[in-house]
Symmetry: C2
Subunit: 125 residues, 2 copies
Amino acid sequence: MSYSIGEFSQLVGLSADTLRYYEKENLIYPNRDKNNRRVYTDEDKSWLLFILRLKETAMPIKQIKTYARLRYEGDKTSQERMHLLLEHRKFMLEQRRTLDENIDHLNRKIANYQKQLNERQGIQS
Amino acid sequence: MSYSIGEFSQLVGLSADTLRYYEKENLIYPNRDKNNRRVYTDEDKSWLLFILRLKETAMPIKQIKTYARLRYEGDKTSQERMHLLLEHRKFMLEQRRTLDENIDHLNRKIANYQKQLNERQGIQS
DNA sequence: ATACTTGTTGGAGTTAACTCCATGTCAAAT
DNA sequence: ATTTGACATGGAGTTAACTCCAACAAGTAT
């Protein structure tokens, strides 16, 4: 399957402008037809979805760019890419640790609020 | 204990400019001394550390501002604040779900790379 | 043939969250 | 008495990640 920028935009949930922006930033460059229009493939799709995963875990575009460059350079860079992924996994695990800690803290904070509200309730009744 | 902006800056790991910026955004307003200089207290400290937790979990300053406003309005708003915290907990749990999913996906991706590299190794030897 | 739709580019504008800077004030050190 | 140092304010500048727009191109619908 192949998609125009409009279709692709729908498919992945990004605006056409954003797609063109990503292209300018060298994250993804689709082929063009005889009319110079962008033609996205299913491969572009899975690649973009991966990019979105990276974004979802707060990887800045600059860093994604590095990965993209390696990818477009082909097979010979797979070791490097793997290294990058391992690094990113570390980062994500760290992120999860922080998140868990914050959830914990929030839970305690909420429990406190609850206690206080109950006490006040007690006084009023 | 009370701190000048410089000391406080060290204490919480934000630049003085950032602290003044947060003040402009109404996240935190310390008292002033007779000389109009900011005087931060330990209460300001724990409040700011809480702000940083919220930031760490990607709460935008605008939303933190809402919470700050309620806080500075005093006890009568604690119900509202609690509601806000509950909402934020939902958001954080959602964040964790996404993160776990992405870690999973990344693990599979890494496993794939590993397999491919092994296969190539196999061919070469 | 003309209008409409969807695309193209280059470049300007926007928002969030800082960050930097010029100019000025005051207390402390020399 | 002057220099130094930390701080004050107002406002400009920066970076990331879009978002919008004007002007043009080409295929499609009426």
